[in-house]
Symmetry: C2
Subunit: 325 residues, 2 copies
């Protein structure tokens, strides 16, 4: 939640003149996205989102992110669509930053999703995986298994501040995941961050997916494990199997999991729980007291990790046995 | 710049059901207003602003603020219009706070206003003063001359941290203003905070005034002095007489100043410069280091105050001699 960069009406009007997007009527900095500055624009033509890419985003990744949104939208997925400039470019510059004009997607994210919403999320995730086929650019997942140890080593000596014995526990988990991480699962473009605030609903119907700025190439089933972590636990830490079953059924209604993927699911869930534990833990120890950021509690993902460690098969997540390829 | 309160789609939809305002399509917390939480809503009917009144606003003042916007809009002033609920009430409740749904005013505030913009601001201020006549509720100006000493006494012992000798200088100024403050100038409803971020333009045309949450009853010419301070100084501290002349001419094109008002203008400018110095100075010393607020430099208004102390007549602001009542 932040607006990092203020822009003047003058420079914004000059920026917009490069597009066939009408004349500017208003713009408001919005409290959305933590990596970039976002503005909601009204022009004589339509509402738009204007995104200024701040320094945490590598400009070399922007063709992947913007191209992916275009690729997915072209294949019928409901997601924000970057608007091309009159000269064909997808990216402009504003206030010294790379900037993109993006279609505005109506909808709201659900603070309290129910099982039927999870079913729709699962189906949308699978549609995204299918729609992502054939996208020409690739981007490695910097936050997959090979990225965890470097992050952990920067912070592990402070782990016992969170809980006594935690340094040993996480080190052992990391070694286990490194030793057992699958190498041969179906891969493709994944969202990698499909939390509730990145899925919009209108009434009870899913209206679109947003925020593709963690998207990358990785195992498709890993993306499903991120969603199981993000959507299917209650505030009290309990896993909600009704939601889990709905999420997985929704996913499989579009793209059935292979037997190998189903078998790998508990391990993938441990991995994605560790991934979010690690970034939250790192931010938690690196953020000075009194800073402008809401720190997310790393313990939430520690509890989820421990839950997954005790899971012996995907059936415990709600996956029903089925005939697979 | 802040969103203090998050709201869920559920509670917002229930809130909107009390209005004839269409169905909710999206809502975004916007980085606008420092006293309240503001959201930009899109419904199937129109865009709206939703304001949740946070604890710095006295709920007893809300009928004044909301009633005033209605009164001014009814008389043709372009300003946000509170939407009445189906039961006729102007105020609802959301997330445990008083909340109002308000029409969305297109337009942008100017980061670099020119003299012609100042002329339009002057005329709009005068139109507001005229349109405010007959408004039935009154609200005392808590930040006029009688409110300055209590504020000063809470903070004066730290004034020399800003500049050596400042405690004596401001104490003397305060005593001077208390001793010479006018008592018989034309009064009415004033905006009291008409800074550039509260005036919207579409292209080069003023499209409306916003943020009436400091509005109150006071001398009309005092409001003009606030605008001279807010609009007619350059970033380097210099007074821009071209802008001042335009602002005052714009004002007088709608409501000519009386001779007494013109004569009082330098003193009123000293008063409004002291008023903004005092609140900024108070916030500056009371805000802990590292807090989430951008502190405004109190010295800006100290420099303006000193400028006004050297002014001997309103002609120095750009006021042309004219026949007055």
């Amino acid at each position: 939640m932040a607006v990092y960069t203020d822009i003047t009406e003058d420079e914004l009007s000059r920026f917009l003149a490069e597009y066939d997007a009408g004349s500017l009527m208003s713009y408001k900095g919005i409290a959305e996205g933590v990596e970039n500055s976002n503005f909601l624009l009204h022009t004589t033509k339509a509402p738009y989102i204007l995104t200024l890419y701040e320094k945490r985003v590598d400009p070399a990744d922007l063709p992947f992110f913007l191209g992916l949104m275009q690729h997915l939208a072209d294949r019928g997925l409901s997601c924000p669509l970057p608007v091309a400039r009159k000269d064909g470019a997808m990216l402009g510059a504003l206030a010294g930053r790379p900037a993109a004009l993006i279609s505005f997607l109506e909808g709201m994210w659900l603070r309290k999703p129910a099982a039927d919403h999870c079913r729709q999320v699962g189906a949308a995730l699978a549609r995204m995986h299918v729609a992502g086929e054939g996208f020409a650019i690739t981007r490695q997942n910097a936050l997959s298994v090979s990225g965890w140890r470097p992050l952990w080593e920067k912070a592990e000596d402070r782990a016992d501040e969170v809980e006594a014995g935690l340094q040993d526990e996480i080190s052992a988990e990391l070694a286990h995941l490194e030793g057992h991480w699958p190498t041969d699962l179906p891969s493709g473009v994944i969202h990698a961050d499909l939390f509730p605030d990145n899925v919009f609903f209108l009434g009870d119907h899913l209206s679109g997916l947003i925020d593709f700025y963690f998207a990358c190439n990785d195992f498709l089933a890993y993306d499903l494990s991120v969603c199981l972590n993000a959507w299917c636990f209650e505030k009290d830490g309990a896993y909600n199997i009704t939601k889990g079953m709905a999420l997985v059924e929704g996913y499989q209604s579009v793209r059935p999991l292979s037997a190998t993927e189903a078998e790998a699911l508990p391990l993938l869930c441990r991995g994605s729980a560790l991934r979010f534990f690690l970034t939250r833990f790192y931010d938690w120890i690196m953020t000075p007291p009194g800073a402008m950021v809401t720190k997310k509690d790393p313990k939430e993902y520690l509890r989820k990790l421990r839950f997954h460690q005790a899971v012996s098969s995907a059936a415990e997540y709600g996956l029903k046995p089925q005939v697979t390829a």
